[in-house]
């Protein structure tokens, strides 16, 4: 289970303020176990966006946003909607946000903050990693995580060790900040770098005891299985 909690509503509003049309993408895995996602949360977010005067171009719940192939194949059904979309609001842990950003050439905004993945692990089938920093930066960093792609987990930009796009630690390892720079440049969002808070709050990494005890791995709950099956029937 990758424990994740909703970002404060004010923060989400701030992160989407520059976009006018938004697609909502939710994960049917851990966020359901954590009560931070699922259809109900998507509806809440949709209402909030409409109240903010935004146009919601569509929404989709996918089991396991960490599975990029699944994300890609399911989003293919929404291409016409996505063409009229400014950004995707992703209701998942940090891995799902990164996987989405990797599959779609649109800015992504996380609706959740991810905490440490203590206990059982979620799926990490590809290169995306989430350290559970509790302060998801992905909206500002082009959907690429500075905490897990930078060997020093820097949040204020590239250090002096970057060489031809590679990290000083390993010559074949990509410099995370180089990837972030290239991505932000390609989506014309380099100004985002000025908005990142300069200091980290390490307290946010800690999972409160209440969350540790009450959350369940989504698959443990038959009801969630059923819910997702029903959803698929609807889609058909």
């Amino acid at each position: 289970m990758v424990v994740n909690v909703p970002k404060p509503e004010e923060e989400v509003k701030d992160l989407i303020s520059e976009y006018s049309s938004i697609f909502i993408l939710g994960c049917g895995g851990c966020p359901i176990g954590c009560k931070s996602g699922g259809e109900e949360r998507i509806k809440e977010l949709e209402n909030m966006l409409v109240k903010e005067g935004k146009s919601v171009t569509g929404w989709q719940l996918i089991d396991f946003l960490c599975n990029k192939v699944l994300v890609g194949t399911r989003l293919r059904n929404h291409i016409s909607k996505l063409k009229q979309t400014d950004c995707i609001l992703v209701v998942s842990c940090g891995i799902g946000v990164q996987a989405t950003s990797n599959m779609v050439d649109l800015p992504v905004v996380p609706a959740n903050d991810t905490l440490s993945s203590q206990g059982m692990q979620g799926l990490w089938p590809s290169s995306e990693r989430c350290a559970g920093c509790g302060t998801c930066y992905l909206a500002l960093t082009g959907g690429i995580c500075p905490i897990t792609t930078c060997s020093k987990s820097l949040i204020n930009g590239m250090c002096g060790g970057q060489h031809d796009g590679k990290c000083e630690v390993e010559k074949d390892r990509d410099c995370g900040w180089y990837l972030i720079y290239e991505k932000l440049k390609s989506i014309n969002k380099l100004d985002n770098l000025k908005k990142i808070p300069k200091l980290r709050d390490y307290r946010k990494m800690d999972v409160p005891d209440s969350k540790r005890n009450t959350t369940r791995w989504a698959l443990e709950k038959a009801i969630i299985y059923e819910a997702s099956m029903e959803f698929e029937k609807e889609e058909e």
Partner: protein
């Protein structure tokens, strides 16, 4: 106010030097290096576990320099200490008479001789500058009030004029100024044209820049830097004359080449930062050749 700050504020072309503390407690060699440069520089940088190799602490050597009546620049990296330790060291250093600080992120642990150690990086160069600015305002990072304010700390940072992508470097440069950087010392650079392009982009900020000078001792060193030091490029026009010089003539030829470079970039910036790396004895000669 530190002599370094005073010199830069008065608009003097300002020269700083640098020493690396030893691994061990024998300081003979270290003081000899200081002896060569002390009358020719305003202040001396003391590196902080440079290249992630464990040595005597920068702060201790800085405090000893103060005792000798010299002015140190305390280099602080974020690799080895968290925000409590760093703030506490800044205050301790201040009490020992240290006023100048150079804020760096620091090389990764795996680059050095304790690769199994825990990388800290609680802060980085930008947030370290934020911490220094906070302390100078009389409060710490947790917003707690200080008993006595170290208001005259002079905070600096580094920048790589030859960095690629330069745009990202400039974004960080701006962030460092915003966080409180009052002066910059650059990574080594050998191409006046590249330095000029960089200075044209940053002079609008009005923050003094000291051009980093690393004396090239041999063609081998130049090639090593080209291959392994990010953002540093030694052009053939500098390597060739060194390769052609006999071994005995090399220091002389090397100093001539560096002097030529310094004369060329002198009108572009506010000073130079000389990292002699064992060739401290040639520094006076180099500066003589530049009329500095």
């Amino acid at each position: 106010m530190s002599k370094l700050q005073e010199s830069l504020q008065e608009g003097k072309f300002t020269i700083t030097g640098e020493i690396g503390p030893p691994k061990g407690v024998d300081l003979t060699h270290c003081w000899q290096e200081v002896e060569y440069i002390k009358d020719r520089v305003v202040a001396i940088n003391v590196t902080d576990n440079q290249s992630s190799v464990m040595r005597i602490s920068s702060q201790s050597i800085c405090a000893l320099l103060v005792q000798k009546g010299l002015e140190p620049i305390l280099q602080i990296t974020c690799r080895d200490r968290n925000r409590l330790a760093i703030q506490s060291d800044i205050l301790g250093g201040y009490a020992q008479g240290i006023r100048n600080i150079l804020a760096l992120t620091g090389d990764h642990n795996t680059a050095g001789d304790h690769p199994e150690s825990k990388p800290v990086f609680d802060l980085d160069s930008v947030s370290l500058l934020t911490a220094i600015s906070k302390l100078k305002s009389g409060r710490d990072l947790a917003n707690q009030e200080l008993e006595g304010t170290p208001s005259d700390i002079f905070a600096g940072a580094t920048v790589t004029p030859g960095a690629d992508p330069l745009e990202m470097q400039l974004i960080k440069f701006e962030r460092k100024i915003e966080a409180g950087a009052q002066f910059f010392q650059t990574q080594a650079i050998y191409e006046p044209k590249v330095f000029e392009t960089f200075m044209n982009k940053v002079s609008k900020y009005g923050v003094p820049v000291l051009c980093g000078i690393v004396i090239i001792k041999s063609p081998g060193m130049a090639k090593y830097m080209n291959n392994f030091v990010p953002g540093v490029f030694v052009p053939d026009s500098m390597i060739k004359p060194l390769a052609e010089a006999s071994k005995e003539d090399r220091p002389k030829r090397s100093i001539e080449l560096m002097a030529e470079f310094i004369r060329e970039i002198r009108p572009m910036c506010q000073g130079i930062h000389i990292m002699a790396m064992g060739w401290e004895k040639y520094v006076p000669q180099l500066l003589d050749m530049c009329d500095l």
